[in-house]
């Protein structure tokens, strides 16, 4: 970046600036004439959509921060103040609150796209790992943001999640106190979570920058998973994909604003509108929907792991649950080394495709189980789905890497596009 041939611009001012700091050359090279596979489908919209959501969260977040008071006695009321008194405060809050949900929707689809079309494979491993880091940072950000309204769900959600730290052997308790700034979730906790909630999105921006940089080094993957072989396989990013991204984003925003303005509490819980009471836990605390599958994985480990026939415990149920939860996200980072099959796209890997669709199914099951109390049949269902989730990564994918026979593949992207046109025409002719 920044090095190499400079482009000559007709506009004198632009050219003057570009000569001293080649930002215009960079922009036009990376976003203008940047060659991209010509066969993208709509799954390729979600990176741009996620980027748009990040910017939306930062703009609404900074404006909310101007009206919000991070103090245990005032936080809840200041949210009500935003909703009732601040000009358009209701809109800011509803966009920010639902924006988090739609940010996760976009990112989850984006990750699924990567898994379906094998975008994590060589040479894009680092690009993929940067994505997993962004996911972790997003989760931390959303978790801390959710405590800010200082509702029953805020306080108790924070209590449970900060409680994970106490599972760490020996130093867990003191780390927990250090993290909370006290013995329970209280004013010091709220203050620091606010500071971190403000900071982390900008850290995310920095990692997103690296993510996009890495993307522009390797180039994009595409639905066939075949790397472009020449100019006949690609088109310039602008205007083709700028247009497609704008269209996709518009449709996405239709759903987003539909919820934010017409059903703003669709994803919310009643206990999120009751002020936090540190002495009373609500009868059923659940995290936001985007954490539910992972929460169900935590709950699925309700047994100690010990040495058989003795009552020595190696991993308590509590530590085990937390390890499973962190592992369930972290395992994504090593996926490029678990799946060593030479074919990228699930389009040509019928077995991997079925296994992946079952994985998505297991995540939906886990999501549902996560929202329920720990009673039967949900406990067993959660355990089965958790087992499948880990088996997918640790057993099925490595086995398929060795034994799966791929379907016959077209020689190039160009040929794949021509073939699909042909079969479509044939279909119409019938």
């Amino acid at each position: 970046m920044g090095s190499g041939e400079r482009i000559k611009f007709d506009n004198k001012v632009i050219d003057w600036v570009d000569e001293r700091l080649p930002v215009f050359t960079l922009m036009s090279r990376e976003y203008g004439s940047f060659p991209v596979p010509k066969n993208f489908n709509y799954f390729w919209n979600f990176g741009a959509i996620a980027m748009f959501m990040l910017v939306t969260m930062i703009i609404t977040g900074v404006l909310l921060a101007m009206q919000y008071t991070p103090h245990a006695d005032k936080a809840f009321d200041s949210i009500e103040h935003i909703m009732r008194n601040v000009n358009n405060g209701w809109a800011l809050r509803n966009i920010h609150m639902n924006g988090a949900s739609f940010f996760f929707i976009a990112v989850y689809i984006h990750i699924f796209r990567g898994m379906y079309y094998g975008s994590y494979k060589k040479p894009r491993e680092l690009l993929w790992i940067l994505g997993v880091i962004i996911l972790f940072l997003m989760m931390a950000t959303a978790f801390m943001g959710y405590t800010l309204p200082w509702s029953q769900m805020s306080g108790w959600g924070a209590t449970v999640i900060a409680g994970f730290v106490t599972a760490i052997p020996f130093v867990g308790e003191s780390m927990h106190t250090w993290l909370l700034g006290g013995f329970t979730v209280d004013n010091p906790t709220l203050n620091r979570f606010f500071a971190l909630h403000f900071l982390l999105p900008f850290v995310i921006c920095a990692v997103v920058f690296l993510h996009v940089w890495a993307l522009h080094v390797t180039g994009s993957n595409n639905p066939t998973g075949i790397e472009p072989k020449g100019p006949q396989d690609t088109i310039p990013f602008h205007p083709y994909y700028t247009m497609k991204d704008v269209f996709g984003l518009t449709v996405f925003l239709g759903f987003f604003f539909g919820v934010a303005f017409f059903a703003p509490n669709l994803f919310a819980h009643a206990d999120h509108f009751v002020p936090y009471d540190p002495m009373v836990t609500p009868p059923h605390i659940v995290p936001e929907w985007y954490f539910l599958p992972f929460y169900a994985i935590l709950k699925a480990v309700d047994f100690n792991i010990g040495i058989p026939f003795t009552d020595m415990t190696i991993i308590s149920s509590k530590l085990g649950g937390v390890l499973a939860l962190v592992g369930s996200v972290g395992i994504l980072a090593v996926l490029p080394w678990l799946d060593t099959h030479p074919v990228k796209s699930a389009k040509y890997r019928p077995l991997y495709r079925i296994a992946l669709i079952l994985l998505v199914l297991s995540l939906f099951v886990l999501g549902y189980v996560g929202s329920q109390l720990a009673v039967q049949p949900y406990v067993t269902l959660g355990k089965i789905a958790t087992l499948y989730y880990f088996a997918f990564f640790l057993v099925i994918v490595p086995l398929l890497s060795r034994y799966e026979k791929p379907l016959r593949m077209p020689p190039s992207i160009h040929q794949a596009v021509l073939d699909s046109k042909k079969s479509k025409n044939a279909g119409e002719a019938k």
């Binding site: 209590t159 449970v160 250090w178 010091p188 002495m279 480990v301 509590k318 649950g321 109390l373």
Partner: protein, 185 residues
């Protein structure tokens, strides 16, 4: 040729000296940085006013047998329960070899006042406040407390009997400073 040899030797000599200086400087620098960072990390630990709430006194004279009260200590709820004869017997009758966190009832109460059970009301799983203090609360399968968050059941001694929590409810340091006043902390 002879000259070249001495050159090489002196160069080697230089390098080891430089390496040594580099390593010592690096080590001092690393320790110094860690030492300088500690105050920043420590600033996140509980502040003096948070620690100042370390003891609480409470009058339990009005708590009848079978009743319980919840008070606040260090920002956390503390359960004080005036146990019935039956609850004490139930707690004593348990065979502790089958328990997850093996503790006899006598280790959890004062010898001369076994009717008073004092515990931090924070589930040892992930920190919710268990139900069971109020008459109408669900008390779980063992007649003590029930944590609604992930389903931990505690018995009439506050010991974990079922569910994901690893430990019994914590008994804080406490003493009777008069017949009816408990000092916690």
């Amino acid at each position: 040729m002879g000259k070249a040899k001495t050159d090489k030797k002196s160069k080697e000599h230089d390098e080891t000296r430089r390496d040594f200086l580099f390593l010592t400087a690096g080590a001092v620098g690393a320790i110094g940085t860690a030492r300088a960072l500690w105050p920043f990390i420590d600033s996140m630990n509980p502040a003096a006013d948070t620690l100042a709430l370390a003891t609480t006194e409470v009058d339990v004279g009005a708590v009848q047998e079978g009743q319980a009260i919840t008070i606040k200590w260090r920002g956390q709820p503390v359960f004080i329960r005036h146990r019935t004869k039956k609850e004490i017997e139930d707690a004593k009758a348990v065979d502790i070899s089958g328990l997850r966190d093996k503790q006899d009832d006598s280790e959890r109460v004062l010898e001369d006042k076994p009717q008073w059970l004092v515990m931090v009301g924070v589930c040892t799983h992930l920190g919710c406040v268990p139900l069971g203090q109020k008459e109408a609360d669900s008390k779980g399968d063992f007649g003590g407390w029930f944590c609604p968050c992930h389903g931990s059941h505690y018995d009439t001694s506050g010991r974990i009997r079922k569910g994901p929590a690893p430990k019994n409810l914590t008994v804080p340091p406490f003493e009777f400073i008069s017949d009816t006043t408990i000092k916690i902390g």
